[in-house]
């Protein structure tokens, strides 16, 4: 059923609102959180679309809507040629084999009372599929593939470190050989050194199985390592979408500029000298978003027109779409150095998805000892836009 364009996912004018209820004795709907408000994009076969935006911009809600974990208010979601928003839970079953999810928090995403074997084998059991050779053999092959020791089949999640847990989550997601995997910040809860391993694993799996990823992250640095295209989101709207090179080399939207200038530079001296675009104030409430351009309350370019007219998402170059009345062409000072240092940053190899020559095999991924020692999980870095002066 693959369309001729090789498109796996198409999202059209997606809106997902959450009702806000009063706390009265008989609760009443008194408003709506417009978590996602008119978002359109598509993801091609074996392609990774990065989705970035600060906390609260609606990325997780997009991810959950795509898999119908929350029912969208309106819009279409087409997975592998089939529109799914109108399907009943039963009719959704076959689609669920095609699209899976990897979660942000590896401590919450695995049932603490199930063994690893039970967790990774769950997709087969739920879908009623008997893999050739049986579930156990299939699960152990998956464990091996993602860099886990197959002998740990009967262990419980609390005996694994954060990185290993994320591998368990990945094994579960690829069990049914899906075409699309939605990754909701899959590495942001992990140690920096482990982040790179997980990203490499995801990239290898993409090569091997021709997977498509919708890859959510809250900053442009992580997304850069894996995405072919990048979409920037703010307060439920898409601000800019472009091929990876363009987003980093020739961004046009003021919000993308501010996100770029927030990408941390490992070199403290450079970090101090560079100029930063600081956003004023906080993210406005998605219950009552600003008129016109939703970004206007914090935009350094904002003019009167921005408060009356919603800027449409326009294609300014092939594959490059921007929603802004007054796009900015010049890069913020210092960003080239920032990106250059990122390329050379140890432990985070920036590898192009193509060509297939320089792949690291999964055997080379170091197997962490299953000693139950959790990684020191850093506090999740928030986007540095705003606040700090």
């Amino acid at each position: 059923m693959t369309t001729e364009t090789g498109e796996i996912l198409r999202v059209s004018d997606l809106r997902t609102y959450f009702p806000v209820r009063s706390h009265a004795l008989i609760p009443r709907v008194i408003g709506q959180v417009k978590a996602v408000d008119g978002v359109s994009f598509q993801v091609g076969s074996a392609e990774t679309l990065g989705l970035v935006g600060e906390s609260g911009s609606g990325k997780t809600t997009v991810a959950r809507s795509v898999l119908m974990l929350v029912r969208p208010t309106s819009g279409q979601i087409v997975i592998d040629g089939q529109e799914i928003t109108h399907l009943s839970p039963k009719a959704l079953m076959p689609m669920r084999r095609k699209a899976q999810m990897i979660f942000q928090d590896p401590y919450n995403a695995l049932n603490p009372r199930h063994t690893v074997g039970g967790i990774i084998g769950a997709p087969y059991r739920i879908q009623g599929i008997e893999p050739p050779g049986g579930v156990r053999a299939a699960v152990q092959a998956l464990m091996e593939r993602v860099g886990l020791n197959p002998e740990h089949y009967n262990r419980y999640p609390n005996e694994f470190s954060g990185g290993q847990r994320q591998r368990i989550g990945i094994a579960r997601a690829i069990a049914l050989r899906p075409k699309l995997i939605v990754c909701d910040e899959p590495v942001s809860a992990l140690d920096v050194s482990i982040q790179a391993q997980i990203i490499n694993l995801l990239r290898d799996l993409q090569q091997e199985f021709g997977l498509s990823y919708l890859f959510v992250a809250h900053d442009l640095a992580v997304v850069r390592q894996i995405s072919h295209r990048v979409a920037v989101m703010y307060l439920g709207h898409l601000m800019e979408m472009a091929p990876r090179e363009t987003i980093y080399a020739a961004p046009l939207h003021p919000y993308t500029h501010s996100l770029l200038s927030a990408v941390p530079i490992p070199d403290p001296k450079l970090q101090k000298e560079r100029s930063r675009i600081m956003l004023e104030g906080d993210l406005p409430s998605p219950i009552n978003p600003p008129s016109g351009c939703v970004f206007r309350t914090r935009c350094f370019q904002a003019q009167e027109r921005c408060s009356v007219e919603v800027p449409p998402l326009i294609e300014v170059a092939p594959g490059h779409q921007v929603a802004c009345h007054f796009p900015v062409a010049t890069l913020p000072a210092g960003i080239e150095t920032a990106l250059a240092t990122l390329e050379n940053q140890p432990g985070v190899p920036v590898r192009r998805p193509q060509p297939a020559g320089d792949q690291v095999s999964s055997a080379q991924l170091d197997r962490l000892p299953a000693d139950g020692r959790p990684d020191s999980t850093p506090v999740r870095p928030k986007v540095r836009v705003g606040r700090s002066r």
């Binding site: 079953m93 669920r96 919450n108 995403a109 009372r113 199930h114 769950a122 739920i126």
Partner: protein
């Protein structure tokens, strides 16, 4: 874990009580007129008539063996408290899961029902309804006498006991269903049934078990209190509460009559509570993440 051993012994004695009594050649139902004085029925000998034939003495007035009464009383106490706990836990878990998972109006209605039950003056109701409802049970075909009285106790304990557990379970379910592993199951197409029983329920066992081991001793105590208040079993059968109620009259003359069942009751209840506490400690660190 000494408390666990004590509990196992208690249950064994409860189950094999008649055998033990047979071994000692005693029975709770046999009157022994040789052990008491003809006038007033005061037991012969010190400490309420402790002798080789009656290791813990005999009952005032009838000469029935105290040790045998304890054995048989323990049996009834354990039957009542264990059954009532099982029933309480079943109802509480079921309603707690439904309220927590269904949410919305179902949750609100069940919540109000729990409030209502918790607001009832329990003791008053139990005492007031005892006669009527026991009669009702007899009418429904339950054998008259102590069988329907025991059943009545079990029913009122369960009916008034489940809301506490249901509240705990509801809260747990509310937080568990927001966890990402539930979302993961949904994204694979899991049915409601699978989510409830395979994903959520296994995470509830620890709190349920702990709650049960703490409820059981409170029911033993409650049964004793109700027997004391004459809602419990009737002679010639007996329980801790009934024995205690009986003994109060003679406390000044034969204090052992009060102390013996009292001590056994305290040991039983304390062992259960200690066991519940150590169970909680053992299960808790694994339960979270």
């Amino acid at each position: 874990m000494i408390c666990l051993i004590i509990l196992i012994v208690f249950y064994l004695v409860g189950i094999f009580g008649p055998v033990v009594a047979g071994m000692f050649g005693i029975s709770p139902y046999t009157f022994d007129s040789n052990a008491i004085s003809d006038l007033g029925g005061k037991p012969y000998g010190a400490f309420g008539g402790i002798s080789l034939a009656h290791p813990l003495g005999v009952e005032w007035g009838t000469g029935r063996d105290i040790f045998a009464q304890l054995l048989f009383g323990l049996r009834i106490s354990l039957i009542i408290s264990t059954t009532a706990t099982l029933l309480t836990v079943t109802i509480g878990v079921l309603i707690g899961i439904i309220a927590g998972y269904a949410g919305g109006i179902t949750d609100s209605l069940l919540g109000r029902l729990m409030d209502l039950i918790l607001a009832f003056p329990f003791l008053l109701i139990v005492l007031a309804l005892s006669g009527v409802l026991t009669q009702r049970l007899t009418d429904l075909g339950v054998p008259e006498g102590n069988v329907s009285r025991v059943l009545y106790l079990i029913l009122v304990m369960s009916v008034f006991g489940w809301p506490y557990l249901a509240r705990i379970v509801r809260g747990q379910v509310l937080s568990l269903r927001e966890r990402e592993f539930v979302e993961a199951a949904v994204s694979m197409g899991a049915s409601r049934r699978r989510i409830l029983f395979t994903e959520i329920l296994p995470n509830l066992w620890a709190p349920i078990l702990v709650y049960a081991t703490l409820t059981l001793p409170s029911y033993i105590g409650l049964e004793a209190a109700l027997s004391f208040l004459n809602v419990g079993v009737l002679p010639p059968d007996t329980t801790f509460g009934a024995m205690l109620a009986n003994s109060v009259t003679y406390f000044n003359v034969v204090p052992t009559y009060l102390f013996i069942p009292g001590t056994v009751l305290v040991i039983l209840v304390v062992s259960f509570n200690l066991f519940g506490d150590s169970l909680r400690d053992a299960l808790d660190p694994k339960g979270g993440h």
